[in-house]
Symmetry: C2
Subunit: 236 residues, 2 copies
């Protein structure tokens, strides 16, 4: 699992830490605020005060400002010059994030179907098989992890770094919500069928089919999440 430098005799070598994993204050603030916004802990339109945030986090305003700039670019807050920043997230916004993710994931699935190699295809099928097992044994934790691996693997197979990054930013639910989803056996089964079909389409190189199925999967499961997070309603 952990990559190991070659030729380190006698003693175990330690894996190099990815610089990206180092935590800075601004990243912490960014992640924390992002999670809070997506969890609905702010009302849309609500003003946030830089100094007050700085005080709450116990830091200066500099990293706060940087985090807010990131959230602004993500579209979760709006900055009015010299006036302040206001939260921009509600059910409509969440719906659109799902649509964006559907559009992008389906595009990436299309490319993955065209570009995936033989060994990666075997791996993807293997992940789908593990999902089948975890589904029948109702292993929610494994399902959450496998789900992540599944989409991850498709992203890698598509060889699209930019698109993969973009998709990450369209995620608004976390592991705890996923766990709730996987409680429902019908939902588990439905998701399994979709994942299996997507894997098959990608591995057999049917790009258009993979694209359609991925889109439907993301939209459908997204609606399930929406209902849980915001109560119910329907449109799209």
């Amino acid at each position: 699992m952990i990559p190991e430098p070659t030729g380190s005799p006698r003693s175990e070598a330690f894996a190099k830490i990815d610089p990206k994993f180092q935590m800075t204050v601004r990243d912490h603030v960014h992640r924390t605020l992002r999670a809070a916004i997506l969890a609905g802990r702010f009302a849309t339109g609500e003003k946030v005060n830089e100094r007050s945030l700085a005080e709450q986090f116990g830091v200066s305003t500099t990293p706060i400002k940087e985090a807010l700039r990131q959230l602004e670019t993500e579209g979760l807050v709006e900055a009015l010059p010299r006036r302040g920043v206001i939260i921009r997230f509600d059910m409509g916004w969440a719906e659109e994030m799902i649509l964006a993710r559907a559009a992008l994931e389906s595009m990436i699935a299309h490319l993955a179907a065209k570009r995936i190699g033989k060994p990666a295809g075997v791996e993807l099928t293997a992940i789908a098989d593990l999902m089948a097992k975890a589904t029948s044994s109702a292993d929610a934790d494994s399902l959450i992890s496998l789900n992540e691996q599944f989409h991850e693997h498709i992203h890698r197979s598509s060889r699209c770094g930019y698109l993969a990054k973009l998709i990450e930013r369209q995620q608004f639910y976390d592991a705890s919500i996923r766990r709730v989803i996987h409680m429902d056996p019908a939902e588990r089964q439905k998701a399994l069928e979709e994942h299996t079909a997507i894997a098959k389409a990608i591995v057999t190189g049917d790009a258009d089919l993979a694209e359609r199925q991925m889109r439907n999967h993301v939209v459908r499961s997204g609606e399930t999440y929406l209902n849980i997070v915001f109560g119910n309603k329907k449109d799209i």
Copy 2:
């Protein structure tokens, strides 16, 4: 064109300035750097130095940092904590930006076809008609402006604020490149046909058709841009 407050007797009233139009140093830096990166004035992987940028712009590092944070979230630079930021833009990245835009614009076209009202549909048709006129008279400036209005109008008709914002960030060519494109009569004609077909599909409410046509339009015209900006090559 300019909205006018009601009931201002005797003298012309001035439209309120949208606070978003106010320029701050960080916005200026952000836009300038973004344009420079997208114009290929940095090599991908190149390191940029905050102090040096601050000096070049004649400002302090604070707005520079904020602008870099925005670019980071846009995916145009990568920040390695405590090490600096490096440029991340090359032809592959540009291709993916086009694909992202294609995915998102087609999604928004789909929604616009479902949600557009009668009057907005008439307007869209009118824009398409103006495009036909501008095409036959080879009026490049009008075409550029109309093209903008066309997509703008579709965005509004879809009633998707988030998606529209997201799409804006996938734009990597500017008016000057567009002008080059519109020099070519064949390209002009092709674009007109596509725009006309998209408008028709949206106005008649054929969401799936609108989606397909928009996607093809964005990918095809994107490839034209790519060839101009990066020389030629093909894949996708």
